[in-house]
Amino acid sequence: MVLADIGYGTLVLTMAVGLWAAFAALVGAARRRPEMVASARNALFVTAGLSTLASAILLVLLFTHEFQVRYVYEHVSTYLAAPYVLSAYWAGLEGSQLLWLWMLAVASAVLLLRPPTWDRELRPYAMVVLGVTQAFFALLLVTLTNPFELLPTVPAEGISLNPLLQNFWMIIHPPIIFAAYALWTIPFAYAFAALVTGRLDATWLVGSRRWTLAAWASLGIGILVGAWWAYLELGWGGYWGWDPVENSSLIPWLVGTAFVHSAIIQQRRDMFRGWNVFLVSITFVLTVFATFVTRSGLIQSVHAFAQSPIGYYYLGYMLVILAAVAGLMLARRRDLEGEGQLGDLLSREFVFLLTNLLFLGSAAAVLLGTLWPTFTEAVRNVPTSLGPENYNRFMGPLGLILVVLIGVCPLVDWRHIDAERLLRSMWVQAAVAVATAAVLLLLGVGELWAIISFAVVAFVAATILLQFAQGAAARMRTTGENPFTALARAIGKNRRRYGGQIIHFSILLIVAGITGSQAYQTEVQVALAQGEEVEVGPYRLAYEDYTYRRIEDEGNKVLNQAVVGVYRGDSLVATMRPERNLHSNVQGAVSEVALRSNLKEDLYVVLSSMESDGLAAFQVLITPLVVWLWIGGVVLLVGTLIAAWPPRREGR
């Protein structure tokens, strides 16, 4: 296979050129030889080109069904639809790592295309990190997980993509997540450069801020898209199961969120210098850890470590980074002391510190929970697992305190505030929260914790809306603009602040969605013969018809579809068609959920089995407010774009 060999050769070259880039950048920076730095820059352009070529070759192999290539054989088939052939690129460990490499190489090239400005001194050292990381992933691909590995024979047909992955959201979920992982490399690279050069003031934070925001937002949105996929495809009515794969992407998000917040403190008050370097380094290491967990499956058992050396590669790389950061931080401990002084306990500084500790604490807990079976197996030979209820027990309270802090923080002054003044400034919000709780109680909505959660959301929403109103009102007074112009201009004049508030608002929507869906889900499991009906909440579901059909051109898929009429009173509101299809490539049945979604609740129908006479078992769920999770994701994206958009007057 000429093409596969070329692909492999390209990866070997990428590794070599990446290493050269790191070496040349280091020498160029340390010895002040700009021609070496220029060579490193070119080398990173070359790795971008080479990894693009490798990706293109893998895609060509996938699309031309070259089944002699093991990766192609395992992930596509002649009957797999084109969009899924594309997604097969990142469906396995090999392709995922290639995607990581490619995304990082492209991001590095984009960074290096612009001439250095604020980062003239830092950039060469940042390039060292970029080169080493690219070389690391190329090394993995070349030695252990070669996507271009050939089989001794040429199979006539491929295994095809796991039907669970054949979903639109699973096409876009991995690229977003891996883009986020790759993007986190850049703020880390600048933190490393700041450590090496000793320029530990806020310059590196300000300069890499947009990369940080891009990384942070894509990680959050990637997680939400993954949750949406799980909700649609896994057929159990939930969107988050605290499994290691999900956890591994949440942990860097939590630490990254702590970093995004404490970076603000350093910019405003010159505090937390070392803390910020620590946080961004940990975030980066955790993204590497997440890649490793997601695709290797090694986390479930310590014994799996013995089967493949890949775990040692990842562990080694993470340890090297941590050791380098720790050593440099020790050497630079003088420069890590900022000039800012701590304020009072009732001060915005302390609220930020509290936020940091809560994010870090929850990240540590989720990490511990993810590794728990591995630990317990290592210690007493019997792995012990944690269920979702263990996670919910700490994430619930910690999350709610964090949400409360979103609402309190803008009211607390820097340095110091009187308790009395703080309390006086929040009576409106408190009244809104109490009113919300009272209304929910009067409506007879049960679940105390859910009512508390909604009250907290109302409290914080009031704070945020008040800030928008005050900003607009102030402009109306000084400029005489109409309310809409005033609001738009107030936001436009201070995108960072209002963008952040919009992001906070999106978190409220997500929290409301989580609360509603966790507290008030209704589930009915029922077996129906054709013509029978069942009442679920306000709906009446009539099992009207069924289809049983063999679909040859999709690889002998056998389609089982039920037709369910959904009535409210006597009027038909929807016809739903849940499916349960037999896929011959995996020799198993996979459900395709039927979903009817509105702002209030989702009606979710799963066909759990069907007999040849049409007798069918259904699982019907009514999940309130779940759609607000996805709306929150869109708002989060909008808020980030507003916060990150370059100001018009900046002459850069």
Binding site: G92, N162, T294, L345, L357, P383, T384, G387, G588
Partner: protein, 129 residues
């Protein structure tokens, strides 16, 4: 007290509270992974769920749509175990696939009553393994 000291004391209290919360969350309803033989040795008074996994024995799967009741057997290197489960039929229920059952063992009936079933293969992402 200086503001730095106050910050450290305040921070330490917060860390302690978070740690305590996590510690209490982790104790309680965790479940042990057991081998088939270990499950069979369990007495009637189990205080927490166990988790047992094994390959589904060929032709042992029986499913009643009307009752939404599933029975099958799994086996590992220590023996075979009958599993009973009420609820929707899980996806990918195929012979030889690794199944994880979470629940309690009934020594009288010699059946493991599973409250939750997970199919290990194919994993969420990988087709092989």
């Amino acid at each position: 007290m200086s503001s730095t000291a106050k910050f450290f004391v305040g921070g330490a209290v917060v860390v302690a509270v978070i740690a305590a919360l996590i510690a209490t969350s982790f104790s309680g309803s965790t479940s042990d992974y057991l081998k088939v033989a270990e499950v069979k040795a369990l007495g009637p008074d189990q205080t927490r769920d166990s988790r047992v996994s094994g390959a589904i024995v060929a032709d042992s799967v029986e499913w009643s749509t009307r009752d939404m009741h599933l029975t099958f057997e799994i086996e590992d290197d220590t023996g075979q175990l009958a599993i009973s489960y009420h609820g929707p039929q899980p996806d990918m229920l195929v012979d030889a696939v690794e199944a994880v059952a979470i629940g309690r063992y009934d020594p009288e009936a010699e059946v493991f009553e599973a409250g939750e079933l997970l199919m290990k293969c194919p994993s969420k992402y990988e087709a092989e393994e």
